[in-house]
Amino acid sequence: MSLPRRSIFVPTVLAFGFAFLYVPILSMMFFSLNNSSLVTVWDGPNSPTLKWYVKLLNNRPILDAAWLSIKIAAVNATGAAVLGTLVGLVLARFGRFRGRTLLSAITTAPLVMPEVITGLSMLLLFVALEQWIGWPSGRGVTTITIAHITFSMSYVSVIVQSRLASFDESLEEAAMDLGARPPRVFRSITLPLIFPAILSGWLLSFTLSWDDLVISQFVAGPGSTTLPMVIFSKVRLGVSPDVNALATIMVLIVATGVVVSAVVMQRQERRRQREVQMALASGE
C-alpha cells in the first residue's frame, strides 16, 4: 500500500520504537564489559574486561540452575509440540464434534491468563492430587514440566492452526482419493506440511519454559531451582554485573539462533513455492 504523500511521522515512530526496544539490551551488553561493580558507572581505565564472564562461568549455582532449566525446557517443548499439534489438527481439520467450543476455549485461555492465576491453580491441583492419589509426591521438576507443557501447548496449537489454515485441504483430499487412510495421510501429507510450524512451536515452547518465573515459583519444590528463580533473587537485590554478562550471553545465543532459523525457513519456504509452481506446470 502506498500513501499519496510520504509523511515523516511513521518512519520517526518506527525508529523511536526500535531504539526503545534495543537501547536497554545494548546498554546491558555494554556494561557487562565494565570493570566497576557499580554496573552503570563506566570505569574507563580498566575496561573493557571479561572478568564478569569468568566469574559467571565459575558460579556453580547459576550453572546448575541453567542446566536444569535447559532440561525442563527441552522436555516441555517436546511434550507441548506433540499435544499442541494434536489440538491444532483437531481444531483446524476435524470439523464439528461435541465439546469443540470448550476445547478451543481452554486452549486459547492460557495465552492470556495472568501467570499468578495459572501458577496458583496448578499448585493447588498438585497438592490436591497428592492428597487423593499420592501423585505427584512433593513438587519439583515433574510438576514444573507439567505446568509448562500446559501453557506452552496453547502456543503450539495456535501456530499449527494458522499454518493449517493457510493450506486448503485439497492435498489431503487428493491423498485420500488415491486410497491413503487417515494415518497415512497425516504422515505423508499433513505432517510434512506443518513441520515448520511444529518446529517453531517447539522453539517457542522451549523459550517460554526457559523464561518462566512466576508459574515455576508456584509449582517448584526444594531442589528444583530454575535459572529465572536464581536471576530473580539476585536482581531483587539490585543490579549486578554478572547478571549483565549472563544476559549478554543469552542474547547472543538467541540472536544467532533466530537469525539462522529465519534464513533457513525463508529458504525452505521459497523452495516450497518453487516446487509447487513446478508441480503445477508439469501437471497441466
Partner: protein
C-alpha cells in the same frame, strides 16, 4: 489443480521427508496403534488425549481454587480446612465460608490493588497502542525485504529472557543509572530524577515487554488491507489523514482489539515488572496474591483473590477468544 499436479507435490514431499519419517516410524508407534487409528478409534484418541490433559491440568485446577476460596484457613499442611466432612456415617456437612470474600471487600488494601492494577494495565495498553500502531503501519507498508527484517527485529527481544529485559531497565532508570548520568552530564538536570519505583517505571516496563504482542496482531491486520481502498478515497478527494481515519482505522479495529486484549489481560496480573520496577506503597494485585500465598501462607484468601481477578477478566478473555477464533478460521 489436476490430479497429476497434486500427485507430483505429494511425491516431492514424500521424497524430501521420506528418510526422516521412515526413521521415525521404525522407532515410532507399533503396528497395533495404527490399526486402532484406522478403525475410527484414532479420531477419538486424537481428540481425547489433549482434551484430557487440558481438563485435568487447566480446567479442574480452577474448580479447586474456587473450592479452596470458600474454605477456612487452618494451621496444617495443606493449610485449609476441608469443605465437606462426614458427620457420623450418613450425613455430610458442607461449610461454605464467605469470610474470605468479605475480608477482601472490607480491607481497602485489596480493593485499591484491584483498581490500581486495572488502571496501570489500561494506561500501559494505551501507550502500547500509541507506539505499536504506527510501527505496525510502517512495517505493513515497507518493502517485503524490509518488512521481514523489521518483523524479525520486533520478535527478537521476545525470544530473549523477559526477566533480563525488565532488569535492563533498572540499569537505565535508577538514580545513578544511564539516563540520569546522561542527563546530568549534558547539564539538563542537576539532581537525578527519581524514576525507579514509580508508576512511570511500571508503564515503561509493561509497554516494553508487551510491545510485540501489540504489534503482531496489528501488523497481521494492516497487511491484509486492500491498497485500492485508499486510492479510491484519494480519488474522491479525501486527504491522507481523513482517508486514514475513515478507511484504515475502522478496518483495523479487529487488530486493535486483539492487540489491546493481548496486552491488557496479562498486564492486570503482572507480577515481575511491578516487583522489580514498581512502587512499594501500592501493590498490584498479582503481587498481593503471591504475598498472600507465600508470605502469609493464607491459601484460602489467595484463592479468593484469584477468583475475583478471574471474574474481572472473564469478559476481556471471552472477547479475546472471539477475535482469536475469527483470526484462525480465516485463511491468510
Amino acid at each position: 489443480m489436476s490430479r497429476q499436479g497434486r500427485l507430483a507435490i505429494f511425491e516431492r514431499y514424500a521424497q524430501r521427508w521420506g528418510p526422516f519419517w521412515n526413521l521415525f516410524y521404525r522407532f515410532g508407534p507399533p503396528r497395533w496403534s495404527l490399526l486402532l487409528l484406522q478403525n475410527g478409534w484414532g479420531r477419538n484418541l486424537v481428540i481425547g488425549v489433549p482434551y484430557l490433559w487440558l481438563t485435568l491440568f487447566f480446567l479442574i485446577p480452577f474448580v479447586i481454587v474456587l473450592k479452596i476460596s470458600f474454605s477456612e484457613i487452618r494451621i496444617a499442611m495443606p493449610p485449609y480446612a476441608p469443605l465437606w466432612e462426614w458427620v457420623g456415617d450418613t450425613a455430610i456437612s458442607i461449610k461454605l465460608n464467605f469470610a474470605n470474600y468479605r475480608y477482601l471487600f472490607s480491607d481497602s488494601l485489596y480493593v485499591s490493588s484491584y483498581l490500581y492494577s486495572m488502571q496501570v494495565a489500561a494506561i500501559s495498553t494505551f501507550f502500547c497502542l500509541l507506539l505499536g500502531y504506527p510501527m505496525a503501519y510502517g512495517i505493513a507498508r515497507a518493502s517485503p525485504a524490509a518488512r521481514n527484517l523489521c518483523l524479525m527485529l520486533i520478535i527478537l527481544p521476545f525470544w530473549t529472557s523477559f526477566l533480563l529485559r525488565v532488569y535492563a531497565w533498572i540499569g537505565l532508570l535508577k538514580n545513578n543509572g544511564v539516563i540520569n548520568n546522561v542527563l546530568m552530564a549534558l547539564g539538563i538536570v542537576d539532581q537525578p530524577i527519581t524514576m525507579m519505583q514509580t508508576d512511570f517505571a511500571v508503564y515503561i516496563g509493561i509497554v516494553y515487554s508487551y510491545l510485540p504482542f501489540m504489534i503482531l496482531p496489528l501488523y497481521t491486520n494492516l497487511e491484509k488491507h486492500d491498497p485500492t481502498l485508499l486510492e479510491a478515497a484519494a480519488d474522491l478527494g479525501a486527504k491522507p489523514a481523513k482517508a486514514f481515519f475513515r478507511v484504515t482505522l475502522p478496518l483495523s479495529m479487529p487488530g486493535i482489539f486483539a492487540g489491546c486484549l493481548l496486552v491488557f489481560i496479562p498486564a492486570v496480573g503482572e507480577y515481575v515488572i511491578p516487583s522489580l520496577l514498581g512502587r512499594t506503597d501500592q501493590l498490584m494485585i498479582g503481587r498481593v496474591l503471591s504475598d498472600e500465598f507465600f508470605a502469609n501462607r493464607d491459601w484460602p484468601v489467595a484463592g479468593a483473590v484469584a477468583i475475583l481477578m478471574l471474574l474481572m477478566l472473564v469478559v476481556p478473555i471471552m472477547l479475546f477468544q472471539h477475535f482469536q477464533g475469527r483470526e484462525l478460521r480465516k485463511p491468510s
